[in-house]
């Protein structure tokens, strides 16, 4: 299986006949003999995933890179972080996936009403299995450890991904002050309870 090497804002992948899936149009350079082709419906997740994406508006356009050589991937000068998954689930914003290794499954999970108010849409994307995922973030990514004792609360606009046994819920800070224009500017927050890691970026979308 190819390994993903993150170098600040660029992801290098050495391929020896294998393939990886990457965000469409994210190739900046390659050496050797590499083919790029649309990963197909649902980013290679099949018809079911495609349908769900269509309904949820959570679109992932991936391309499959196959061949011999080194591919360099980057998008919009965003920072790249590689996350190793060992048979676990990573919940992530779909547009922040740069690349996934073969064998990982992408799916859409409905989050219900909380997504609507944060502008994230009705659903988030989950990546399941064993392999590596490269995430994009505006500025270096910050992992926040969540342990049982205290919850971690993050800004929905800074949220990138989360993994582990976590329970996501919405915290609303809306009060009469917000209506008279005296709000704190943080009307909604995402609250995580349980055990795991939450990844955030030092910027708000």
């Amino acid at each position: 299986m190819p390994t993903l090497h993150a170098d600040k804002k660029v992801l290098h992948v050495d391929l020896m006949g294998e393939s990886i899936r990457a965000a469409q149009g994210s190739m900046v350079a390659y050496t050797g003999n590499i083919e790029f082709k649309n990963a197909g419906m649902g980013g290679g997740g099949g018809l079911r995933a495609a349908l769900k994406q269509r309904i949820a508006g959570e679109s992932i356009s991936l391309m499959e890179c196959t061949g011999q050589g080194r591919v360099s991937l980057a998008q919009n000068a965003d920072d790249v972080t590689v996350v190793d998954l060992g048979n676990e689930v990573l919940t992530v914003e779909s547009e922040l996936i740069l690349a996934v290794t073969a064998g990982l499954q992408l799916d859409v999970k409905f989050t219900g009403l909380q997504g609507v108010s944060t502008g994230q849409g009705l659903a988030t994307t989950t990546v399941t299995g064993t392999g590596q995922v490269a995430l994009l973030s505006h500025g270096p990514i910050i992992p926040l450890e969540v342990s049982g004792q205290y919850p971690v609360v993050v800004d929905p606009d800074a949220y990138v991904a989360s993994r582990g046994q976590l329970n996501m819920s919405m915290v609303s800070g809306v009060s009469w002050r917000s209506f008279v224009g005296e709000g704190s500017g943080e009307p909604f927050s995402l609250r995580f309870d349980g055990q795991g890691v939450v990844y955030i970026q030092p910027a708000e979308r």
């Binding site: 804002k9 149009g25 390659y30 356009s61 980057a74 998008q75 000068a77």
Partner: protein, 213 residues
Amino acid sequence: MPFEQVNSKVVRAHVSQATPVLSRRGAMLGYDGRVVFRPVHGQGQGVGGMMGRAFAGESNPMMAAEGQGSVLYGYRGLHVVVIDLKGETLTCEADRLLAHDASLTTSVEMIAQGGIRQAVRGAVTGQGLFTTKVNGMGSVAVLAHGGAFAIPVNGQPVGVDPQAYVGHTGNLNVDLQAKVGWRDAVGRGSGEAMQLIVTGQGTVYVQASEEKF
């Protein structure tokens, strides 16, 4: 005197009577010593230079820093890459030139000299029909969005996204390749239909973004 990298986005150039520095107009951030700035018109001499000034984009207002002291250069928070030339030629777009030693010679070249294919390449990739060539001995500071990395080319071809291409040094041949298939026609392409294929001996610089400026 080589440029000194202050941080990833700012360079310091030492200016003396014998070694003035040319830069993009308005890119000075600060200076110390007795330095005066004087506008210079266009780059390149001869017909090519004039054509470059007259036509599409490839005419960048430049200024010269003269006197004695050091000058800081930066532009719009973009990353700066310093390339030291030892007699070889750097090819890039004029828009990307932040500063260079005045001892280097610049010339504007029409891509169309390479034939109709090259002209098509310029038009398709949005690079325009002109590129700038810098050669001689000295430092060049080039702008890149998100920083640039160098890929050595020796023999084996290297593919580069036209939007991410920054420039190249050495004896390289850059050719546009369109891998447009039926998939692209029905909107199911990989988004990598257009590629620059770089062959020969040298170094190609690629930025971590597909943003042009």
